[in-house]
Symmetry: C4
Subunit: 278 residues, 4 copies
């Protein structure tokens, strides 16, 4: 017979991990709201004018949220069968890091880094959203990025080598007086330029430097086409594959039920049965 | 029997809402001109050198246009069957907001916000253009954007989460002395960088900050491919669908039923039967 | 019988307008060199340090080139059958404008605008290149741009409306103290931001302004996908059309010679003749 | 009979040029590490704060690496059959240039240019990576870039002509007082703007200048679509070609000869005949 504690655990599990019951959904929405509120507070704390006026309000809110997250964390550990699996999972670690700073602030005072670490709570949103929203759309995005990943890495590697070489060149040409104080700084400038960001904190001054900078810009303007081309081709291909299967689902084989025949097929490719079209 | 007023209403309706008669077209063109003139005037009023010299001219023009728009607004209400349907429609509200500021300026003086609200008149252009021009081209654009909308929202959501996390990180690394005065400002900087805008009002100064900024730039340079890929794939697919239906499938062979002939084909490529076109 | 002058005219015509003879080619190359040299000189004249030292050299060179171009211009008029057709053609006007400034400088002194007008000579290069190089590549580019032109205009029109509205909004929010001195300037800023150029000469200072600026940037980052999508789809389609014709050129019909059959065709679509594959 | 030297040469050849043996792989990894370390040191030497502290350490490391590279260079020459083929190859020259600076520094002192030339060692990485990694991915990238190269050159040529003309125009409009000090500088500004880099070191000040700058930005924003479209179309086409050949055409039906079956097909879709796979 189940003990009272087991029943409690089971109920908690349904609420915290489940999304099908009303209570489970309500819990997710409350959690989503608290995470967003909490991250908003982390941001506002750093704005001096807000912090001065509402310091105490923010502190109290923060403690309430932290206590809520702590209870949630403990309940998550209790209600799961193998706690270690949760604790050392990606989200388990995020959850732990998200509540740690406030308790550590007892010992180290309100160190800024501790405070900002709480922004990682934002990652917790993904778990909630994963279960509720966007799954279809996001998965197509993820697939396209996944399949074109290696090509993009090769591309970025190439961009970095170009930046190191051109950065070194610009360091020699422009020199320290014009803001290119060292090769790493020149490489930073080169990345800023090649990616068309262009802060303007460092910019070429000598004519030769400006000519080379122009070449880098046109290069960057031209090669941005490459990652775009890669991802687009992946998208188009993934879509076409899907399209092949949706377009041809018109006539299932009456013998074996397979339904992704070629549009012009007269015989089932699986069992050789004759296909009857309308 | 129709009253005189009914006949007047009908005539007005044809001129204001219609586009097929000469009068209707002329009205649309006058309206288009007045809207553009009006928006131009809103702009010029804010240019000090222009405003000083031509203040009175601009004021008189503005009143003439406002009176014209007011009359037009009243006629639109009178000439339509169910006025409430127009008044609370999108364009009805825009039309109302577009004439309001001048009358409100009696009570509140020439408040700047009131003055600028008139720029919303520009939205009125879309109604005119919708009826006259570009419909085909714009509808293809709209279709592609509509179908890829959810994916782009997921993408922007992802970009925003990345910006919040990286913005917080940069706030800790660079700190307030280097211009990253608060997390919201850091997030603003991160968006400026990731979208490759790069104002340069805030920029990393510490070496660590510059390394992370470089990574953000390359990230932004790489992931710009994603929305492009999405929209392009949509365009290609919409086009292909349209292409499939318009280019071929027009005339199935009366002998063997194959129907994907070339457009200029005179004989069936499958059985050699003569094809009869219209 | 042809007069001597007629024979001279014909010879000149072959050299100047022709590209097949050795003399014609040599003339084109000399002309190309002189145009490039001339444009380079226009540039260098404006560089103070160069102008100070080599002012006289540049002036003499410029006169030599101008005289050469003048003779060329006269010969072009003489050697063509209907001179008016050349004189009022696009290139005829460019040629005339290109030689005018030096003669006008007698009357008006070395006015700067006159001097810079000579840079238009650069357009003359296109005529030469059109005949010699790149024709195939450029024509595919031109085709893709031509077919997607209307869509890109609709897109730019939409971008401009967005910039006027958001520019007006930013003018109200940021105000003149923060650099948004008038609505036209705000619109300029909005275009600078939306196109991800981001000079940083004007940038938002208030928190609200920075939030709206962030939205504009993300918008600009997202909608850059649209023109890219349009052009890419055009390229892909043009290519596919061409592809259809090149891929299938394998087996010309032995009866009528038509060779762009579908790959699986058994009968000629033009004459119904049976096709024999290998 | 082979001399001892011949055996030594053969062994060295396997280690240096080969990648299949353990020794060959280990050599490549050590070389890769040393190259990266060496390039890192070139960078750090230019950072003043690092150079001051660790000048001697860096100098000694540099000498060790140079001696290692020298020995490697000599061994490469010795162990190859036709040394001249290696010496005058691209990588042979890079290898030579990579070791030269340290020896030249005896005669000319530690000239900065000599020091930075060592960054070219980075190019040596490509040889190692070519043999070990990424070959498949990189070759697809290379193919797409190769086939779209001419079109991108035509595009860049067009961009440059536009920049020269618009740069000259802006020089006349803005003039030297607003930072457009000469036509070359104006062209530089135009490239910075058209490529959406936008440093902000030079920016239009006059209203006319800002209007033209806005047009340039929108132009740049629109035509970035062109190289993207080119490369994407190439990618899609290359992929489709490969797809056509790998996915299907493997096994023609022995009965009717149709050969574009699905990969998992067991029966011919055209005649229902059983397909025999290997």
């Amino acid at each position: 017979m189940k003990s009272k504690f087991d029943i409690f655990r089971q109920k908690v599990h349904i609420i915290i991990y489940g999304t099908n019951t009303v209570a489970g959904k309500a819990f997710d929405i409350v959690l989503l709201g608290l995470i967003l509120l909490s991250v908003l507070m982390v941001m506002l704390e750093t704005v001096d004018s807000v912090d001065e006026r509402y310091h105490n309000v923010l502190l109290i809110c923060e403690w309430v949220i932290t206590v809520f997250f702590t209870i949630e964390y403990i309940l998550r550990i209790i209600s799961i069968k193998t706690p270690s699996k949760y604790i050392f999972s990606f989200y388990g670690i995020i959850d732990f890091i998200a509540i740690l700073p406030m308790y550590l602030s007892f010992f180290f005072g309100g160190a800024q880094i501790l405070s900002v670490v709480r922004a990682l709570r934002l990652l917790r949103i993904f778990r909630i959203l994963n279960l509720v929203h966007f799954t279809g759309q996001a998965s197509e995005l993820r697939l396209a990025i996944k399949t074109s990943r290696t090509k993009i890495i090769v591309f970025i590697y190439f961009v970095l080598v170009v930046c190191v070489l051109l950065g070194s060149l610009m360091y020699v040409i422009e020199g320290e007086v014009n803001g290119f104080t060292s090769i790493p700084v020149s490489i930073y400038w080169c990345i800023v330029t090649l990616t068309t960001v262009g802060y303007g904190d460092i910019h070429p001054v000598t004519p030769t430097g400006q000519v080379i900078a122009s070449l880098i810009m046109i290069l960057g303007y031209g090669i941005i086409a490459v990652p775009t081309g890669i991802v687009t081709a992946e998208f188009a291909q993934n879509r076409k594959k899907k399209g092949l299967f949706t377009l041809e689902k018109d006539y299932p084989c009456p013998n074996c039920g397979v339904d992704d025949h070629k549009q012009k097929a007269d015989f089932c490719y699986n069992c050789g049965n004759k296909l009857e079209h309308e």
